[in-house]
Assembly symmetry: C2
Homo-oligomer: 109 residues x 2
DNA sequence: TTTTTTAATCGTAATATTGCGATGTATTAT
DNA sequence: ATAATACATCGCAATATTACGATTAAAAAA
């Protein structure tokens, strides 16, 4: 117990849940927004921008990386993070389909 | 420790994270899809449809209700669940804005 | 009234997440 | 070579999540 029963769901449901889980934390939303805002990649500026310890930021970055939402390339001493366009696009497509599968006009109870 | 430091994030970031967290589980995605699919509201059909215990489904429904994504009205012995159009619309708007704030053409590293 | 049905809630076990100090690991600067 | 810088990782404590059996609550049927 305590673990999600992934076996009983579809591949699609599980994959979407993984991506959403990666997004579902204010720190990770803030990190992504910061990466997007600075347009080019940023590095450990996140530690000074957000009020979290370096270890914590690094952990959140790892989760985003594991989910595939961002990618990091070593740039000398620092690491350069940016959005993974492919996965981002996938997320957009899947979420759009999911959210639009509900017809807002259909009000029932 | 173990708790999210909500104080250091914006209201918007926290609210979006709450909604995404509610979505970020395959069971809850499946529940929402089922509610949408059956168009009208459904009740404990979810227990037979998905392979989870009644207590577990009820718990997931509660989380979706707490997040505001669904609403339930008592319909005799059973309970009728449906999407909350207002919150659903909000989620659509906020997610769209967030996902589209990244320009897919901007490839950096 | 008693029984049945449907769903919420309680209690509990297993596991996951969050956050951080401390430490390790490269790479650049001196 | 040594020191400094930037991150990653380890280890730990606090808390949250997931899942479910058992119980409770409320309405409908008998």
């Amino acid at each position: 117990m305590g673990t999600t029963k992934t076996e009983i769901f579809t591949e699609k449901q599980n994959k979407l849940a993984v991506l959403l889980k990666a997004l579902a934390h204010p720190a990770r939303i803030a990190i992504l927004q910061e990466i997007i805002k600075t347009n080019a990649c940023i590095c450990g500026d996140l530690v000074s921008e957000l009020g979290l310890a370096q270890a914590t930021i690094s952990q959140h970055l790892k989760e985003l990386k594991t989910a595939g939402l961002i990618q990091g390339t070593i740039e000398g001493v620092s690491v350069c993070y940016c959005i993974n366009p492919t996965v981002w696009k996938q997320l957009q497509t899947q979420l759009k389909a999911f959210l639009e599968s509900y017809d807002l006009k259909t009000n029932c109870c």
